[in-house]
Assembly symmetry: C2
Homo-oligomer: 298 residues x 2
């Protein structure tokens, strides 16, 4: 299969859904909606929504009813980027080559754009899924799983740990680095795959396998992120390179060297693909996604 | 009935639930949990959770299975206070007589405490309700209703409008003021009552009546808030009095005068009580709550 073509098609599908689900408005809230749409529709790989859709396909199940769930995943991811970029947090001026939300709209508007996107995500997740086959009970499980993944025990907790670790560089050690990554990035990526599994009606064995896949993919994604932050260039990344080191954050390359880092990324990709053993050719997009994540340039 | 005793009992019940549902932790996230608990357990009237529980009782239904829902309402309210107090927003130093979350823990920690509480609220809302009688479908409806009430069309949108209106004082006019209040405060209060209605298994007629009650209670609550901000003293309020006027916000007293403001508050309270006509003595707590809101001092 042509993974680039697949990713392009899926990305367009997701972006169209986002555009339709959160349309521009007139009236007093026009500016608020504009700030949310600015960050939400600023490009990006749409990895999380695509993982959700591809996980459902692997079962195989029709992924179209899950588009609102996929859109919600991107709303959550975007909210986390907006808040992480704030002056009180990472204080970043650029994101995907464009001014960050607070640079463009001001700090109050950016905090509220993030808050709005997180709330809107749960609005989307709890809507009746048109054309879907999952029961309300399964949908509640999906919502609960995702809420747990983005809360104190997941993404928000990971950002807390990340900020606490800043300036302590390599003193943090590999275990601490793994914990940060597992919470900050891994939890949402794993939950994205699990959402596709639940939404597509996975049985227990399929759910377990997809969870293992999601965990390894999340790990690979983050190791490569660290690698790109060291070896990438700003134009391709759309943000400053080397910023992790400058902030005194521990990274895989700093702790392990480039060769061992690359080896661990490959290992995680292999483990992700191995986890899909029980699936047939419908899981090919997931397998190709794993390989794509290992070779991505931004 | 003795409304003070009722409120005390219910408040203790809610605070115990909050304490148990979000216990202090050791380990790397201890500080994060401490920041969330600091704001969550800093006192407060617990009006929203109590409205939820009292609405279920009015039907009549057992309100105990709804304690996690009630707790979630307070988590959402607390998150909104933490973010509203931030330097980029209202820049408040005191809340309930204590340093605001960012004054105590720093700005990044406060943003993340708010984000954590909002996420945790949806984790609570989507849990299976032990001992409850509502179907998963009804629970999903509850989640969706609440997510809509706190998002761009509700609470977050109201805060956006409030910040936009700042400094424009009485130019904003009464319609604009009503819109801000309906979104910023009214939406969550109404949704709190509706959550109790849905969670308690209300039929269509009961749900409509409780919704009207919630709308009028939300309105009365906000009018009185404006009154207290003008006429109250800092010690009772736990925050600076007169701060709305200082920020050039429009208020009911500034637009209507004290007498007419008081009259409109009484009118809203009467309308709230009238909406409960179809209910028997089990709705007494809701009726007393309406009267209490009109006479509160902080």
């Amino acid at each position: 299969m042509d993974i680039k073509q697949y990713l392009n098609n899926r990305r367009q599908e997701v972006e169209q859904a986002l555009d339709e689900l959160l349309p521009a408005t007139k009236g007093p809230l026009a500016g608020h909606v504009e700030a949310m749409r600015y960050s939400l529709l600023a490009g990006g790989k749409r990895i999380r929504p695509i993982l959700c859709l591809a996980a459902a396909e692997a079962l195989p199940a029709d992924s179209r009813p899950l588009l609102p769930v996929a859109a919600a995943l991107e709303c959550i991811h975007t909210y986390s980027l907006i808040h992480d970029d704030l002056p009180a947090m990472d204080d970043d001026d650029l994101r995907r080559g464009m001014p960050t939300c607070h640079k463009k709209f001001g700090e109050a508007a950016a905090i509220l754009a993030g808050d709005g996107l997180l709330s809107f995500a749960f609005e989307l997740l709890s809507r009746p899924l048109a054309g879907g086959n999952i029961s309300a009970q399964e949908q509640l499980r999906l919502v609960h799983n995702l809420a747990t993944a983005v809360g104190p025990a997941g993404m928000v907790g990971g950002q807390v740990l990340d900020i606490q670790a800043e300036g302590r560089g390599e003193q943090n050690g590999l275990n601490q680095l793994r914990l940060i990554h597992r919470c900050k990035t891994g939890a949402l990526i794993t939950a994205a795959v699990q959402s596709g599994a639940i939404g597509g009606g996975a049985d227990g064995r399929q759910y377990e396998a997809l969870t293992r896949y999601g965990e390894q993919i999340g790990l690979a994604f983050q190791i490569i992120d660290d690698l790109l932050n060291v070896t990438g260039d700003a134009a391709t990344l759309g943000k400053a390179a080397g910023s992790d080191t400058a902030r005194g954050k521990a990274t895989y390359p700093a702790l392990l060297g480039l060769d061992e880092t690359r080896r661990q990324a490959d290992e995680a990709v292999s483990a992700a693909i191995a986890a899909l053993e029980i699936f047939d050719q419908h899981a090919e997009p997931l397998r190709e996604l794993a390989r794509y994540i290992a070779t991505r340039k931004n």
